[in-house]
């Protein structure tokens, strides 16, 4: 029964990680920008939702919308104001990464100052666990999480394959100059990428707020997962990142059957190291060596 | 024209070289010799596989089948940095200079072959740098950063690096493109000078005027196949090859 419990928890965590990782992988795969502030986007979305729903008691749909707007604004503005400007001058990996990282630090500490340094949770009617079977506790929200993830992935799939924008975005990842042939600019498309990538974390943030809670430093953990899942899944593969997110979430929970909770984060990195050692291309990835 | 046939030692031998990527046959059963002291030019339409051939020689790509022999020994599974130490050097179309480093540093670091924390022989190295700077007429730019040089100067720095490498085989990828006539003259003189000293030189070039002035021999590559090799006159006068080159085929 412990195993079943861990499995369900793993599924829930994995679904959230899949969304987070997909957002990061989308951005990195298509713009080659190491968006170290992705975790900050997540934290902003979570806290805005918390503030609107739990503190100001606004209707949850409006709260969710507010979170989505805040997250997308943050993502797009960073791209527009910071990344674009840097890329115009020199745009090396280092410069972009450091700027991104700097923003992440600023956001983390601003949130710590505005809200509390400790953890906050959003309690919803769906958060309460029910004993489904003896020893197996599941909250209905787990189902919501998985469903949400599925819906968003289907929507993403539709966007990328069935719409002009989506096809242009994929072209951006493969061959930026091709994009210009179609009269679009890589710059504009890049903003769309950040918009979509940032929106993807919003459901994950809201659901995390409702399940395990929020704290200002959680952006770091989000980045860890994003990077690990992107590498394990294969750079450039959205499907890979999502799958890897799921696997990492499952692994993180299932391993609790054998090791102490403090080591569960380490499990993620052991998996990452193994892939870097033996299969750096990831599960689905393109070749990565220069 | 060049050294006598007796002295033309064949240092690089390519035999039945093949490379395919998935379904694409990039190099198709190429057999070629590159003799010492001779400037061979590799020509062919875009996508013919010229740069791929270079990559196969330098170890950046692994052949699907066939062999490359250098100084009698096969180059099998040799890493690019090891290939360099065996005496093969190449330039890149996009130069890839060490932009933040000075001209002197660019040249000196090529001469410093080891990975050690400390290497001796600085005095001798500086002397050689001075010689190379004189030959390439970059002496007054010695302490300029590579990124601040003019276009022609950058091209010559690229050549200077290869000169410093003490390589016996030079693979040059469009080294003279965009050079003004005076610089080009200097360039040709320099190359011929080194060819006379026994260096094997192979150049990828698109500009037919340059090809005529530079080469002793020409090899024509198309769709991965070596269609012809011979003296520049023979190859360039062939109407069949000209048609392929200018894309008049279906």
């Amino acid at each position: 029964m412990l195993f079943a419990q861990l499995f369900i928890n793993g599924l829930q965590t994995g679904a959230l990680y899949a969304l987070i990782a997909a957002g990061f992988s989308l951005i990195f795969g298509m713009t080659r920008i190491f968006h170290a502030a992705h975790g900050a986007t997540f934290t902003i979305a979570g806290y805005i939702f918390y503030e609107c729903y739990s503190v100001l008691h606004i209707n949850w749909i409006v709260a969710a919308l507010a979170a989505a707007i805040a997250a997308s604004l943050f993502g797009v503005l960073i791209d527009r104001v910071i990344y674009a400007r840097i890329q115009k001058h020199e745009g090396s990996f280092f410069t972009v990464f450091v700027a991104s990282f700097g923003m992440a630090i600023v956001v983390q500490n601003l949130i710590a100052m505005i809200f509390d340094r400790g953890a906050v949770t959003v309690s919803t009617p769906l958060s309460k666990s029910l004993e489904m079977l003896p020893g197996l506790y599941v909250a209905p929200i787990a189902a919501v999480v998985v469903l949400c993830a599925l819906i968003f992935f289907m929507a993403l799939q539709w966007l990328l394959t069935q719409t002009n924008l989506g096809i242009a975005l994929r072209a951006l990842g493969e061959n930026p100059t091709l994009v210009e042939v179609y009269g679009l600019t890589p710059r504009l498309l890049s903003q769309y990428v950040f918009l979509i990538g940032s929106i993807l974390v919003v459901p994950a943030a809201i659901l995390t707020a409702a399940t395990s809670g929020l704290n200002p430093a959680m952006g770091n953990h989000v980045m860890l997962i994003s990077i690990a899942a992107t590498i394990v899944g294969g750079v450039g593969s959205l499907r890979g990142a999502a799958m890897a997110g799921l696997i990492l979430g499952m692994a993180e929970n299932l391993c609790l059957a054998v090791i102490d909770p403090q080591w569960s984060e380490a499990v993620t990195f052991v998996i990452l190291f193994l892939f870097i050692l033996f299969r750096p291309g990831g599960v689905y990835g393109r070749a990565i060596v220069t | 024209m060049t050294t006598s046939a007796v002295e033309q030692e064949i240092l690089l031998q390519i035999r039945n070289l093949n490379k395919n990527f998935g379904g694409l046959q990039a190099i198709d059963d190429v057999t070629m010799d590159l003799p010492a002291g001779v400037i061979t030019t590799l020509v062919g339409p875009n996508g013919a596989g010229k740069t791929t051939l270079f990559n196969l020689i330098t170890g950046h790509l692994i052949p699907s089948s066939g062999t490359v022999h250098w100084l009698g020994k096969p180059l099998k599974g040799v890493e690019p940095w090891q290939v360099a130490r065996l005496g093969i050097a190449r330039t890149f179309q996009d130069l890839r200079l060490y932009n933040q480093m000075t001209v002197e540093e660019n040249i000196m670091t090529v001469m410093e072959r080891g990975s050690w924390l400390w290497q001796a022989g600085r005095k001798a190295a500086e002397q050689r740098v001075t010689e190379i700077l004189a030959e390439t007429q970059l002496a007054d730019k010695r302490h300029e950063r590579a990124v601040d040089l003019a276009y022609a100067e950058r091209k010559f720095l690229s050549l200077a690096r290869i000169m410093a490498s003490q390589a016996k085989l030079w693979l040059l990828d469009e080294p003279a493109s965009g050079l003004d006539p005076r610089s080009f003259e200097r360039f040709v003189t320099l190359l011929r000078d080194y060819a006379k000293r026994g260096i094997t030189i192979c150049i990828i070039e698109h500009n037919l005027d340059i090809v005529i002035q530079l080469s002793d021999r020409v090899a024509f590559l198309d769709q991965g196949k070596l269609l012809a090799q011979g003296s520049s006159e023979d190859i360039l006068k062939d109407p069949h090859l000209a048609a392929i080159y200018f894309g008049e085929r279906a």
């Binding site: 840097i86 630090i105 690990a228 750096p280 | 480093m101 290497q119």
Partner: protein, 294 residues
Amino acid sequence: MIAYLQNIAVLFCINAILALTLNFIMGYAGIFSLAHAIFFGVGAYATAYIAMHASDSLLLCMAASAAISAVLSMALALPALRVRGEYFVAASLGLQVIGVTIFSEWKSITGGLGGMIGIPRPKLLGYTFNDDTAFLALALVVLGIVVGITALLVRGSFGRSLMAIRDSESAAQTYGKHVNAIKTLSVAVAAGLAGVAGSLYAFYISFINVESFMLETSILLMAMVIIGGTGTLFGPIVGAALLMSLPAALTYLPFLPPTELGSIQQIIYGLAMVLLMLFRPGGLVGGRSKEKSA
């Protein structure tokens, strides 16, 4: 007052060594490491353990700290450097996280969350550095040696190899540089010297625990290097001095709530990093120097 300044000075020396060594791999080799605090920590714990259980000899402990940190870093570097730079960032982040967990859990060696207490002062040729002023002199000497080593390496052939790899790794490989060996060696040197800093730290503070070696520290070190200026010899030292004086400077601003000073500090250097990357990527000392090309 003197004691206070001496204290700051010793800590400055230690931070300067850490910043210098991090700059060695970040600014010169172009390798981004988020795990520098771990090598600092490994050095500190190694010295603490040896000093408390075996010998308080300065040279022995420092040598051991340097060696253990260096070897550990090679275990990280050898696999991770084979692939692209972004992967090394990820791997170093992983090492930082796992390192903290190991520091916290391996009670027999590190004392777990409680840390290690009662580390003695080191002994050199019969003299024990119990006097704080003497220790400051020691710290300055060690800093001087590290500056000397770094300068020698950077201005010599190894430095040129690093910069060549930073500017164009493919060209460096093509012209005979064994890139992996060189990168691994540079990481080992940086980690080893960070271990020496850790050794100094353990001896000085006489009490260490995992709190000094967490991600915040790695980030602070990165900020020092970036703000001071990458790829320059004195940039990191300037960065260390600046960022260390920041907390003290902030206390002089009465309108800032004291409980939030830590956050405000981090916000300041986060903003500094962003602004510098936008307008002056070479850092305060480096200036507008452009970054790498192909």
